[in-house]
Symmetry: C2
Subunit: 581 residues, 2 copies
């Protein structure tokens, strides 16, 4: 079918919408792909819906290819199962809640682990029924605090969520890796540049959870990677490359110094370099001790001290991930007043340990490293305090910031940070939900087996914006052929009746070949039409223009900008060849 | 692709679910097409989703065929536009409402007139942009008081809603008739038995609103039709066939009689037949006067009397439709006490009119008809009161019940009532919404033109149940080929390895022809497999059974029950021929 721009519900905008910040948002609005209805709520206009459906189709095909069976849950979900898993509470303000006319509680589902588990438990009862892999492509809801960036982070959006159920861990691993490959295939088909990053510390098993991040400067997720080895991880998941422990032999004994008013690392370093310690001192030679209070949910607050090299800040995201599920807060002045042994600005490992404060250090603080740090008296620091000899911490913690140039955990080279947009997540859940609902089946030996489960998501509607974000240029959108709303955009840029008729015939011929044709048959000027064609971003543009009189049409590649003339006679064959090349 | 029952997420149930009342609900649950999540909320399991998608596809194709452009609105919608049209209030308890984390009000959209109007107003500004026809296939919500009958009346469901926008009434009529045809085509493709009924009185224009009702005993809508002429209408929309007025000549003068204690039609008729009036009297000879109070929203209550032949009740639905948008209630004893001239059981037209009560009569009360009715004194009635001579009502009202055997309004024959399920609705809305949002465009003459609008719905998910309801038999579901989850169901009913291998090969051959094949490769007994095949309802069943040894397979037609043997050698050709015959 030929879509005529004279009839298409579309108005392109010359100016960026006032509230749009990121390129994909600006362009999808300007090009008439989506329209806002309320913060985080968008309408898909014809062009946008075409792209969305193509992405859905690719996602569906790849899920079916790994044996996924499609089902469809309601978005409106009753409270009870979420109470069983405590997520009714845990979701907090992040979900939309409502009551029906009888006063019963419902949620607009952000994800469906509970209901998939209950459904499988309801239907299946034997190990013979597994492995099982089900998915849905469904509208989901999150009451985002700051819906932003258009459809990149909406409050109503479309996700593919899938769930694997297995009777043993090997089955789960197989399902997990099948998903990993399916995701690689689907993102490749959409020409998305992405990295797979560990989403949890390697210490926990490495592949139990990974995220697929589309590379993008405007992404909300920061990750690091090592070009040499291909290692990539969320900042939270980076494992510090630990230096080897050093022998204590020959290390001088620690000495306490009056350092005056030196409560900060900068002032301490300045003192050290003026104190004639015999070498250039940098912040990296100092050990900074950060005091927190920590509590497990429902428990009491306890002190926690974290020792990191003075040249690094504690990274809040990494700290949070390391302490999860515990809550934490920095000590405030009132807290300090309660513990007189804590001399703010002069806290050292020895005082902390002597007073029974739990003390965790950065993994770089290996045995044999020597530090300038607090001496637990105001105005005093200690020089040459050696880890493992003069103090032994309670353990290590991955809380210090990760910096460009840090060594990759695999030792292959430096880490480089980048930003990304989460487009997929694969997660070996294990038995969290099957435990909650006692989802057992009869095993081969006649005894009950608790099912193990994986959960896997792809942000389907978000992908429209991700592709727009990665592929656009200064002229507008550019769609990879696999997701483009049309295969070819025929622009009539000649008022001559024969040229128009020729363009119409060319469009019909292309249509007959099974190509999706957008025909700009409007009365607008060629300039307006070219600008719109560039903005809309169909990868191939055929211009029936001035050259028509000379028997040629122009074929433009929206990605390379390349233009070439094609004989009007038989143009359809040349164009089709170019499109499928 | 071949779908294997050994892997398909499916458990059929032997027994009807306890809470299911109607056949489609029982069978869709038993056959594993859907599962309940909460009242009126269902999960589509693989088989159900396949049927749903096929129906969606047919609906989409027919909408595109009439020039419909598909878009997609959010289901979560902000309050403001619904306030403009007052529907935020009018919907009452019928919709789900919620607040976001900022306390803003939202609704889960039951229909989208407001947003389509705003979107068109936002994008288009000239008469040249019209006609315009847009549709969506989208999840909708209604907080039904009594969700019932499974997916026939759910709280979350899928609808196709479309909206036409035109600059003149002719355009609206064209769009309306295009929809009418598109609906006829789509329902025909799904093999649905349906009638098109007038949904508003013919007096208002006849075709301004029509409903498509699927014929079904379990339908919630009652309609009447005339077999002779094909006339069909909702009970609310039936226009009474009005008898011709009769001359007054020779009609005796009215006479007042002491009728004793005769406050009901039955006691009055008994009196009349014992009073020697010279003919057999029936309830149809009496004129019953029903007293109501009526008010327009926000107005004062006013008295209204309705005169209907004594053999007919006032039909509440018809009365409501006739008085809309006014509210009404029957007079209670306190009301009667306030109007001493109202002698309950003895009220007559003369007293009503003398006291200034607005008095509307059934259209059958034409000039020259003679009635036995109240004489406005307790214990007295009047005989021979002639309409048009002795009293002149303020008008007529279509409020009396419609009965089987009543003459069709077109006079062609008797009306017969039947029950139906609403599957489609087409409605010439006119300017209700474009007025509310001042949706004007520049006309050809340079002056603003107010757009006129039509609204058209199809209950997409409901159709799954409607087809199940109309097509099932005592053995289970039966799907027309156009919506069947599979084209052919191959049952392996022979444990012999060669037979199994033959069945697998046959399935592969059918798959290669582009047919969707369900292969029952389970280890279950042939009996279990046959029962399941009948329950699931794929229209063609191929049994690879005992006959395999003799070189034959059996082809069964699920609709006719017909079975015939086909040579195993080359069976695929014969089967494909049967399927496409």
């Amino acid at each position: 079918m030929i879509t005529r721009m004279s009839e298409l519900f579309l108005r392109t905008l010359r100016d960026d919408p006032a509230d749009a910040e990121v390129p994909s948002h600006k362009l999808l609005i300007r090009a008439g792909y989506v329209r806002p209805v309320a913060p985080g709520l968008y309408t898909w206009l014809p062009l946008g819906l075409r792209v969305l459906r193509k992405i859905e189709k690719i996602v569906r095909e790849e899920m079916v290819a790994i044996g996924g069976q499609e089902i469809l849950f309601p978005a409106l979900l009753p409270k009870a199962p979420y109470e069983t898993t405590n997520r009714w509470t845990e979701y907090g303000d992040g979900v939309f809640r409502l009551k029906d006319r009888r006063g019963n509680d419902y949620m607009l589902g952000p994800t469906h682990e509970e209901f998939f588990t209950l459904t499988v438990k309801g239907e299946y009862s034997s190990y013979k029924d597994f492995p099982l892999l089900m998915f849905q492509i469904q509208t989901k809801y999150r009451d985002e605090a700051r819906p932003r960036a258009g459809i990149l982070r909406g409050r109503e959006f479309i996700m593919k969520d899938s769930y694997s159920f297995d009777v043993d861990d090997d089955g789960l691993k197989t399902a997990y890796h099948a998903h990993r490959e399916a995701y690689q295939n689907m993102f490749k088909r959409m020409a998305i540049r992405y990295v797979i990053v560990s989403a949890v510390s390697g210490a926990m098993g490495g592949s139990a959870s990974e995220e697929f991040l589309a590379e993008s400067e405007i992404g909300e997720d920061t990750f690091v990677r090592c070009v040499e080895s291909g290692y990539a991880a969320n900042v939270e998941a980076v494992v510090t490359a630990v230096p080897e422990a050093m022998p204590f032999d020959g290390l001088p004994e620690p000495t306490v110094h009056d350092t005056g008013d030196t409560p900060t690392i900068a002032t301490l370093v300045e003192w050290a370099n003026s104190a004639g310690l015999g070498r250039e001192i940098t912040a990296a030679d100092t050990l900074k001790n950060v005091l927190l209070k920590v509590r497990v949910p429902g428990g009491d607050w306890e002190l926690l001290a974290i020792g990191v090299p003075g040249d690094r800040e504690v990274d809040d995201k990494r700290l949070g991930a390391a302490l999860e599920p515990a809550e934490y807060a920095l000590l405030d002045d009132a807290d300090f007043a309660r513990y007189p042994f804590l001399k703010k600005g002069y806290i050292g490992p020895k005082g902390l340990l002597a007073n029974g404060v739990r003390y965790l250090v950065d993994p770089r603080v290996v045995d044999g490293t020597s530090w300038i740090t607090g001496a637990d008296e105001t105005g005093k620091h200690v020089v040459g305090l050696v880890a493992g000899r003069d103090f032994v911490a309670d353990g290590t913690i991955e809380a210090a910031e990760v910096r460009d140039g840090d060594l990759s955990p695999d030792g292959a080279g430096p880490l480089v940070s980048a930003r990304g947009i989460e487009i997929g997540h694969i997660f070996q859940l294990g038995r969290k939900y099957t435990d909650a609902f006692a989802a057992d089946v009869l095993g081969e030996d006649g005894k009950p087996v608790r099912l193990t489960m994986g959960s896997y998501g792809v942000g389907v509607s978000r992908l429209v914006a991700v592709i727009a974000e990665q592929q656009h240029d200064e002229l507008g959108l550019r769609w990879p052929a696999s997701v483009s709303p049309f295969d070819v955009h025929v622009v009539i840029a000649n008022k001559d009746a024969q040229a128009r008729a020729g363009a119409e015939e060319l469009a019909r011929d292309l249509d007959r070949l099974g190509l999706e044709v957008l025909l700009d048959d409007r009365t607008a000027s060629p300039g307006v039409k070219f600008k719109d064609a560039e903005l809309l971003g169909v990868p191939w543009i055929v211009v029936v223009g001035r050259g028509w009189a000379d028997g040629v049409v122009e074929l433009r590649n929206r990605f390379t900008g390349e233009k070439r003339e094609v004989a009007a006679d038989g143009a359809v064959t040349d164009i089709a060849a170019a499109l499928t090349a």
